[in-house]
Every structure is written in C-alpha cells, then in structure tokens.
Symmetry: C2
Subunit: 694 residues, 2 copies
C-alpha cells in the first residue's frame, strides 16, 4: 500500500507555495515581534538546545498518568536549571527558557508570585536571610491566598496569624474546613516554603485584616511536612490540564513562626503587639499587578500558537469545491475560514505588542512603589483589571475558535490546541474572577465620570482637567463639550473608506465607552443584567484601541522595517480594530453611532452594518497572501508547537498517521479488553441470535 502518496507531496507544495507568495520580510517582522534581534537569537539558541534534550521530549506526555506528568514537570525544571548552570545562562536566558516550557509548572508560582511578593514586602532582616535562597531555588516557594471557602473576597479569609508577644511569634491557624488553603500552585507536593495570607490578630483580639507571612512548610532535610501542617494535592483539573502543577491544600494547626516572618516592609507589628499601618492601603497590590500585567503578553503568545497551527492547517487542507488548479480548494480560501482565522492572528500581534508596553508601565510603577510613591498605582490598577478580563476572555475564545476551524482533526489531541486551551482557561477565573473584575472596572469608570461631570452628570470640567486625563479615562474627553458630536456612519456602501481608517474606528470605540458610562451613571441605582460587562468591556476596549492607534503610529515611523512590512502589519492592527468594532455593534447601534440609511420602508432598508463587515472581508482578503509569512514570523519551532496539524513542512496527514502509530492502545493487535469484555458481549449476542432462529 502506498505510504508515500501525493497528499503529503501536495501538503508540502501548498505550504511552500504560500511561503513563496508572501511578500513580507519574515525575519524583519520576526525581529520586530521579538523586540529586537537579540531576543530572537536568545530564543533560537535555547530552542536548539532544549528541543534535543530528552528531558523536554513531548512525544509521550499524552499517555502519562497525572502522577507521571507531575514527575515529568519537575524533571524538566531540574534539567533546565542544570543546563543553565552548566552553560552559564544569564537570568534573561533562564527566564526565556522557562517560557519555552509549555506545561504549566510548579516553578512558575515561585517565579511569578512567591519571589516578587517576598522581594517587595519582606523586611530587610528577612531579605538578608532568604533573598539568595529564593533567587537560587534553594527553597521552593508558593503563594497561599485562596481558601476552600474564599477566593475573590480576600477580606473574608479565615486563616489567622495571632501575635504572641511573650515569644515574639505569630501563630498560624486554620480554624475551619473552609479555611484550608486550596488551589495553591506547588503547595501539594513540591514547595518548601510559602507566603501565607492570613488575618492578623493582635494580642487584644483585634483583627486588622489580611497580611502576609513567610512560613516553612516542609523539612529541608527530608521534605516531610513540618509538625502541625497537613498538605496535599487537590486533585486533577478539568480538561486533563495543568497536570504537572500540584495545586495543593494546607491546614495549619497552631503553627508558630518568628515575628520577623511577617512580611513587614509596609504594615508592621511592634514587639509588644501594636499595629503600624502601611503608608498606603493598597501598597501590597504590586504583586497582583505584576501577575496581571504579564497576562497580556502570555495571552498574545498563546493566541499566536493557535493562529500558527490553524492557519498552516487551513493552508494545506483541501476540501469542497474544485479550485483553479483542478484540485479541491485550500480551505483557507473560504471566507468562513480566513475571516475567522486572520482576526485571531491580529489579536496575537496586538497583544504581544501591548503586553510589552504594559510591562514597561509596570516597571515604572514598581520602581516608584518601592520608594513608597503610589502615584502610578491607581492608573495601572484600573487598566490591568480590565485588560486581564479582556485578554483572558479573548485568548481562550480565539484558541477554541482556531481549534474548531480545523474541523474533526482539531479535536485530536495531536492538534495541540486543546491542550493550550485547557491550560489557559483557568485564567478567566483566577487572579481576579473576570465578572468580579468587571465591577472594579465599572466602579473606577463611574468614579472618574462623577469626578469630571458631577453626581448629576451635567457639570462641565475645565479644559485643563480634560487635558490631564490619564489614558484609562481619556475617552471621557468626548463628553466634555456639548458641541462634540460622535461621527455618524450611515454609509452602508462597501466603498466607504472610513472603515479602514484607524482613527475613525478608535473614536467610535471611545464614544461607545463614553456613552456606556454615561448610561450607567444614569441607571446605577437600578442596573440591568448585563451593564457591568458591557461597560467594562467598552471602557477597556477604548483604552486598548487608543494604544493600538499609538502602535500604528510608531510602526509607520519605524526605520527598521521595510515599507511593505509596515503596511501589512498595519493592516493586521486595523483588522483588530475592525473586528473589535464589529463585536461592539449592538452598543454602537443602540447609541445611534451607526444609522439606518434612508429607511424607505422600515425593515426593508439596507443593513447599516454591511459596510463594516465588507471592510473586514476585504481586509482579510488583502492580508490572506501574507498569512503564512506572518505566522512564520512568530518564530515557533515544531517542538514548541507540538502539533501534527501545525508542522512547518505542512505534511499534516503523515504527521497524524505517524502519531497514531505510537498510541499505546495500538501496541497489541488484539486489545486486552477483548478477552475481558468484547468476547463476552459477542458470545452473549451470538447465543441470543442463535436462539431467536429456533
């Protein structure tokens, strides 16, 4: 039977031809995406080493049990640090290597939660003792906030830390079942230490609310739990995901820790048990903002993987009508495919760029915060909450849409996209549940609105106030002058070039945000069922749209990129804005920002949304020839993607076939289940059938 048949040849031709047809300079755009050639070279170097190291082999992970996946995860961490030591990796090298490990691992909690909080909030004494152990992973940390009974509402956490002035100790205690720490990454079987969020109880019994305490959990001699501590793994997660991370539980039975183990850079307790308030109530938010601000970037990169896999597959998959070459058409040529996939690609590009800008804002905020200056905190808090909701929601939706675009084969574990989805999906409920964060975004927006326009919404702010608006509320300027009118787009003709103009699109989204907040302010006493989500989304999307406008301006002025590349990436950014406006249509129509053109007979007028939708179709068509180039520019190796459908050479059917042959179920021609179950089923049936003949 022909193994070497023409489908693989055609697969290879199709993707090669797409590469030839693309007009962009892939390596130029790659350096742009990686923020310079150095970062790209760093990654390339690391991929070359790690993809060949057996510790990072991915070919067997689908068959492993949960316990085996956990053990594999720790082997990878150990090997990575070993390599780092042997090869003299810099801190940036190690960070980059960590992001290359595509299984969520216990170490990420040490790096993203435990270490930053410890460094930001520990006293100098504690820092002196532990900083280098934390930095070298001589101790392995976790961040213990969530409890079985409480997540979002930190104020109601039940774990207590009672100060004992006699011994200058705190006593950490879990008074109830629901006070069990729960979901804590790396706590289950790995961590030696943790930062515990607990209610600080003073000697007089006063509860001054949640504070952080540094607690040793396991012996550094034999890794056994210390006396008074019960801990373990909370069990598997949905979708078989996050298997290598030991999200854990812990209960404390009157566990004593030294006084200096309170993270007391800001709030403190004196030796005799008096409470010293922090200089700013929200100063401890820094860690949370760090995690959230990193989420935009990681959302961008994970969307990027889904985009690369699905676009490559759609390029080589042929199905349906016969095309000009006499073969069935490449499915990416169908509008129902490319108008789904290219917007996903556009979000990858936008979030990667946006995340970089956000990390810079975070660094600026953090350096001010470390000297007690909280001036940038509120602005970053306002924007990161909404961004976290937006980018986590969009990323899982994009991944799932990309997976579905691949039809039946998309459901194979070998597509690789389901795994990405399962690992990303908790981001919509962790680090601030998205619906709860929506309410914070709305509160901040309403506060800004009332500060500007008064409680009745009718005062007019001064021009200088308007000029001083921070980016998070910049859209409110639109309401500041009675003569400001939103642009009314009535033209349903697809020749209307406004739909390709970034500024028009951005201002529409800003008007929508402004009008939603205005509406919310009028009805805040009696909100309807969806207003919080609508306002939060509106406000955040206006903020992002303006940033995308800035990104386009920066891009246009770039001297690094070729003119053609600038144009193509700009089109991708504009596609982002266009599909954002499309998703906002119900609001835009509600507030009259899009009108029905000359309604001759109600209902039989032309669809006013058609102009935008045609602009999206046309923009997709113009980006389409560059799709493979733009995905190649994201710079993923086959090892990183680990997808039979996203292989660089396009030979997807051969890859699916080869993968299937490695399935352990196929190791025996006749499965063990035959003797045990199948044979009895068949024999019973045959006997019954025989009897029925008699």
């Amino acid at each position: 039977m022909a193994r070497n048949h023409d489908a693989s040849v055609q697969n290879g031709l199709d993707i090669a031809n797409a590469r030839i047809a693309s007009s962009i300079d892939v390596s130029g755009i790659k350096h742009f995406i990686y923020n310079g050639q150095d970062e790209w070279q760093r990654k390339k170097k690391l991929v070359a080493i790690m993809s060949k190291d057996p510790a990072f082999d991915k070919s067997k992970r689908e068959w492993m049990t949960r316990t085996e996946k956990y053990a594999r995860g720790l082997r990878m961490i150990n090997r990575m640090y070993e390599l780092g030591q042997n090869l003299g990796w810099s801190r940036q090298d190690t960070n980059a290597a960590t992001t290359l490990l595509d299984d969520p691992l216990p170490i990420s909690l040490h790096v993203t939660a435990f270490e930053p909080v410890f460094l930001l909030q520990a006293s100098q004494e504690l820092l002196d003792k532990y900083t280098s152990l934390v930095a070298t992973r001589g101790i392995f940390g976790c961040y213990m906030q969530t409890e079985l009974g409480h997540g979002s509402n930190v104020a109601s956490l039940e774990t207590t830390a009672t100060y004992i002035p006699e011994t200058k100790e705190f006593e950490i205690h879990s008074p109830t079942l629901t006070s069990s720490k729960w979901w804590i990454g790396a706590l289950g079987k790995t961590a030696t230490h943790g930062v515990v969020q607990a209610k600080l109880i003073l000697p007089d019994g006063e509860d001054v609310g949640p504070h952080l305490f540094f607690v040793q959990l396991r012996s550094l001699e034999n890794h056994r739990l210390l006396p008074g501590i019960i801990a373990g793994d909370i069990g598997p997660k949905s979708f078989g995901a996050f298997a290598a991370t030991d999200n854990g539980f812990a209960r404390f039975n009157h566990v004593r820790i030294p006084k200096m183990h309170m993270l007391s850079k800001f709030a403190q307790v004196t030796d005799d048990g008096k409470y010293v308030k922090p200089p700013h109530a929200k100063i401890s938010y820094g860690g949370m903002l760090y995690i959230r601000s990193g989420m935009v970037t990681s959302a961008g990169w994970v969307i990027a993987k889904a985009a690369v896999i699905s676009i490559r597959y759609a390029t080589v998959r042929r199905q349906g009508a016969t095309g000009p070459d006499g073969l069935e058409q490449q499915v990416i040529s169908y509008p129902s495919l490319h108008t789904r996939l290219l917007p996903i690609l556009s979000r990858a590009y936008v979030y990667i760029g946006l995340g970089r800008a956000l990390s810079q804002s975070f660094q600026a905020m953090a350096s001010r915060l470390s000297s007690g200056d909280t001036s940038l905190l509120a602005e970053l808090h306002a924007t990161t909450s909404g961004l976290k909701v937006l980018c986590t929601t969009a990323s899982v939706q994009d991944m799932e849409n990309a997976r579905r675009s691949m039809g039946g084969h998309g459901y194979s574990a070998f597509s690789g996209v389901g795994r990405l989805y399962g690992d990303m999906i908790p981001s919509v409920t962790f680090e601030g549940e998205n619906f709860v964060l929506d309410q914070q975004v709305v509160r901040a927006a309403l506060k800004a609105f009332r500060n500007l326009f008064g409680l009745d919404g009718r005062s007019l702010p001064s021009p200088s106030t308007i000029q001083g608006l921070p980016p998070s509320t910049f859209y409110l300027r639109l309401l500041a002058s009675p003569s400001n009118e939103p642009p009314i787009l009535k033209d349903s003709d697809n020749s209307n070039s406004s739909w390709n103009d970034p500024e028009t699109l951005i201002v529409l989204l800003e008007w929508r945000a402004a009008l939603l907040v205005h509406e919310m302010a009028q009805t805040a006493q009696d909100p309807d069922s969806t207003i919080y989500q609508r306002v939060s989304k509106g406000v955040t999307e206006a903020f992002v749209a303006r940033r995308v406008g800035d990104m386009i301006s920066v891009l246009k002025a770039s001297s690094e990129l070729r003119r053609n590349d600038i144009n193509v990436v700009s089109q991708l950014y504009i596609l982002y804005l266009q599909t954002n406006v499309e998703s906002a249509l119900a609001d835009l129509l509600s507030f009259g920002l899009l009108r029905i053109e000359n309604p001759a007979r109600v209902g039989l007028s032309r669809d006013p949304t058609r102009g935008l939708r045609m602009a999206i179709s046309n923009n997709c068509l113009s980006i389409l020839p560059e799709a493979i180039g733009l995905t190649d520019a994201l710079g993923f190796s086959d090892w990183e993607l680990d997808s039979a459908l996203g292989v660089y050479d396009g030979k997807v059917y051969q890859a699916l076939w080869d993968k299937a042959q490695t399935d352990p179920l196929n190791s025996k021609e006749v499965a063990d289940a035959y003797e045990e179950s199948i044979k009895p089923i068949l024999m019973r049936g045959q006997t019954m059938a025989e009897r029925s003949k008699l």
Copy 2:
C-alpha cells in the same frame, strides 16, 4: 482540628432552605420533563441498580490512563447487557440504561449509526442473515465514512468499491494515505464489522459516487484483523475526553466482499455490473437525520446537568457582601450569577421539550421513507441542520459558562462540568461541521425566499401559498404583504410588558429572520464575512421560537400540572425567548426593529435595549426562588452528576475535601519526584546561595 465545622452545616441548611422556599411541585414537573411517570420510574429503577454496581463506579476514572479508560468502558457495556439479560430488561430499559452511562462509549456508534443504517438500507437477503446478530451485538459494528483527507465533502471520499462481475464481489480498497478511514468510533480496537462508505466503481471503470458496503473487519474467532486490513486507534482526543471510545483508522488492501454486502435497498448493481439508481437521490440521508434529530435532546440533558451543578453550587457558595442573615451572601443572589445561570436552565427545559417533538417528526418521516415516500425529508433536513448547529453551539457555551460561574472550583475536575464539555465539544464539528451546515441552511432559506418572491424578491405570493408554508419557512409570511409592518419597540422603560409577551418576542425573531434572508437575497453575489452565520442563526432561532410558543400554549392547556407550576415553567420558556432576543440585538437594531426613543442629542439618548435587559433581570428575579426546585425536577442522582459541587445535600466543601484525599499523588507524604528532581533543585540552589555569601 475541627473537621465537622459549620461550613458543611451551613451548606446543608442553605440548600434545604432553598428547597423549602420553592413553591413548585417538584414531582409534578419531573413527570412533565420525563414525558410521564413511567419514564421517570424506569430511570429511577435503573439508577438504583446501576449506581450500586461496581462496574459503573466513577470514583477512579480521573486517575486512569487512556487504555484503562477504554477497558473500563467495555466492561460497562458488557455488564449493562449482562444485567439486562439477567433482569429481563425491555428494549426501552436497555436504551435508557445506555443513556445513563456518561462516558462516550464505542457501543453508541453501533446503536446510533451502524444499526439504523443497516436496517434502513440493507437488502432483504442481508437483513435475513444479520439482523438478529446486529440487534443482539453478536457482531459489533461501526460506521466508516470520514477519511484522513475528507470529512464534510462525502463526494470526494477516496476509498473505492470496485465491482468484479466474474466473482460477483466488490473489492474494497484504500488507494492513498489520505483515503485511510479515520475518526471512526469503535473501529480502533472493538468493532467486528463496519458499514464502509466507498466510491462504487463499475466494471467499465465508471465511478457512480459514494455507496455503503457491509464489511467484516475482525475475526469472530480471535478478534484479529482480517487479511488486507490495517486498523488501529487514532490516538487521544483533546481535553482528555472521549477516552473510552476507540476512534480508529483503517486501510483496505484489495479486500473482497460478496455482492450482497452492498447495502442495496435503494441503489443496486446487477450481476453483470449495471448500476440501478436509487428512487430518490437523498433517500440515504435518513441515518444522518436520525443522529442529528437526537442531538437536540442530548444537548438538553447535558445542559441540564451543568445547570443543576452550577445552580446548586451557587446556592451554597457564600462570598462577598454581608447579607440580611449576617453571613456573606449566597452567590446566586448576585445578578451577575443568576442572570447567567437561569438562562442556561431555560435552555435545558426548552431543548428537552423540543427534542421530544423532533424525535416524533423523525419517526413520522422514517416510516414514510421506508415506503419510499420522501415528502417529509426536505423539511426535516432543513430544520435539523440548523437545529444541530444551534443546540450544539449553545450546549457547549452553556456548559462552559456554567463551569466558569463556579469560579476557581469550577476548574477542578471534581466539578464534573469540564468532563461534560470535553465530551460534548466534538458535536460542533462532527455530524456536519457547523459552518458548513450554516451554508446549507442559508441555501434552503434563499431557495424558499426565491420560490415565494421571485429572483428579484418583488413578486407577491398568493394567500394560499402563504398559508401552506411549512414550519421551516413560516417566518417568510411576514414579507408577503406590503402592509405588514414589524412591531417597533421604542419603549426603553422597564415597565413595558411587551418584553414579557411570548408572541411579541417570537414575532421579533421571525421578522429578524425574514429581513436577514431578504438582505442576503439582495447581496448574495457579494456576501460579507458573517452573513451566513447570521442568516442561519436567524432562521433557526425563528423556527425554534415559534415551537417554544407552541410549547407554552400546550403547557397552559395542561391538565396534569398545577397552575403555579405551569406559570413557573412558562416563565422559564419566556426567559429562553428573552435571552434569545437579547443575543439578536445587533440584528434587531440594524433592521430598525428597536429604535432610539426621542433622541434629544445623538448619543446621549437612553439605551433602547434597556427595557429588554430589565425584563430579563426581573424575570430572573421572579424565577430565582424556584431555581433549586426546578433543578431537582430534572431528576439527577449524585451518581449521574458525579460532581463534588453539585451534590444533592449541598455539602460541597466536604465533598471537595474528601475527593482530594483519594488523589494518588497523596498516597505518599513525600512524592517520588522529591529524590529524583526536587532535592537536586534545592541542593543546587543552596550550594549557589552558600557560595554567593562567601
């Protein structure tokens, strides 16, 4: 440490109080849902037996490997038939028992695809030989259509069946890699026989397109593959789902089968190799329609599980603001929760009722079809395509929204909802990929439109034509008279009772369908990026809305249910319509079916969608006290739900704790990974930290 603490007591109280507060007659509604007391009693009897039988134990499935899950699945099938034989189950009993097994199992392909197609299309000779073996599972079947290279486009399948007149045989052959049958449920390691979809090649070389052939795959003596056949499992699926089903591949190397193995009830080949056409080109669609028409019911029941779990959890979970009882509020009291969850419950109720009606339509169609009467086929085909898209899309979205509503704990595998999602999600791409089906729906709608109104859309059909419109195109009557005007809802006041009137809501959805099709007809030469999805959705939702209207009428006339129960279920049906209208707002606003009220200054007018949104909020508030009663009425046992968060007694924290203790990772205090990886990580770090001090 207190194990028996108050959270579990409070959990139990909260759910008990909710049961007391509910005013409905749970068992009355239960009998309504189960279509009579008999079906409910049947299920109760089966659950009592099966939930106690070790074969159907679910407590260890989360820890199993794929191979173990497959073996467990077949054990369940074997045990079920053994029980059926021992206890004298009727065919209905066995069917009901099959639906109680919540893992997708290889037997379901035998029952839903192989057997019906065989019975509908085999010749009498073949029926005589195999019918009882098929019915008793003396042979185990699969349905082999999809190939590695082709899914939706059946016309391009590559497998051939060449007639050899000399020996009166067909030769089944897989000429290429891409012609490998792929994704076939039960083919991998289980099936003994299969119905193969293959291109029929006549002796003169003519290809008369895909036909069905009955092929033995494995020996009935030892289960080994027959000569010339290569087959195996295609590997794991995304989300760790569908693990017990051996979706398989197969390749045929010139495999001969007797002539009578062609399923030749309709199309035939004469002994000397002449082709005899079927009486109706689409007569073989019956099997596909059977599968699709069953999907509405199964979507309803799976949404129901997600609704029960999430509503119970939201009832006992307390978080956030202090409520009137001095405790934190039950989260279901938050509008952001109950306005998400009650619409999910409403879809469960609607789809269960709708699915029943659809099965009746299918039975009517099938009985006519078996006598060659295809008059009902087109209508059922038109409606099932759209319904398949609608109910599969809605069910996975509802499950995922239900899971997310449970916050962090929803991501635990113990929530049970992720598993439902993973098993249901392939339904959006199998049995007709949803985007492809959308195009079929649109084609049918355009054809109906043009038949009525001519190619220019301006002819007016006769009143009798309008009166004879079938349910699938009933909405087109609205365009038939120039004096018909859509209702214009301008009132943004929440006192507007129109939003609670089913007929208003239904007619709005029908107008939207009619206007979308009208728009599509005008722009069909140059369609925009989303018009197919919008039209398909619009048309199908109009059809369903009208059915829901009928369901409300039937309900109101019921003599079985108490008046109060009728009112509550009606409210749930109305909530379905309201949220459907809400999801259609962009279309309604586009076509002027909702208007801005007295726009004083553009943009600063009131939101015209507020009236509807407030009606939804208020309807949810009035249903809320009945939520637990309505979920209990769905009649699920804890064994069926297999969810720590959906336990009947409400003690969710205890259930999570208990489940976690059974995690194999917790069987040792110090994980094996310690010596292998954790200790090296810590030692390396400690050495480095030590050195840095020197």
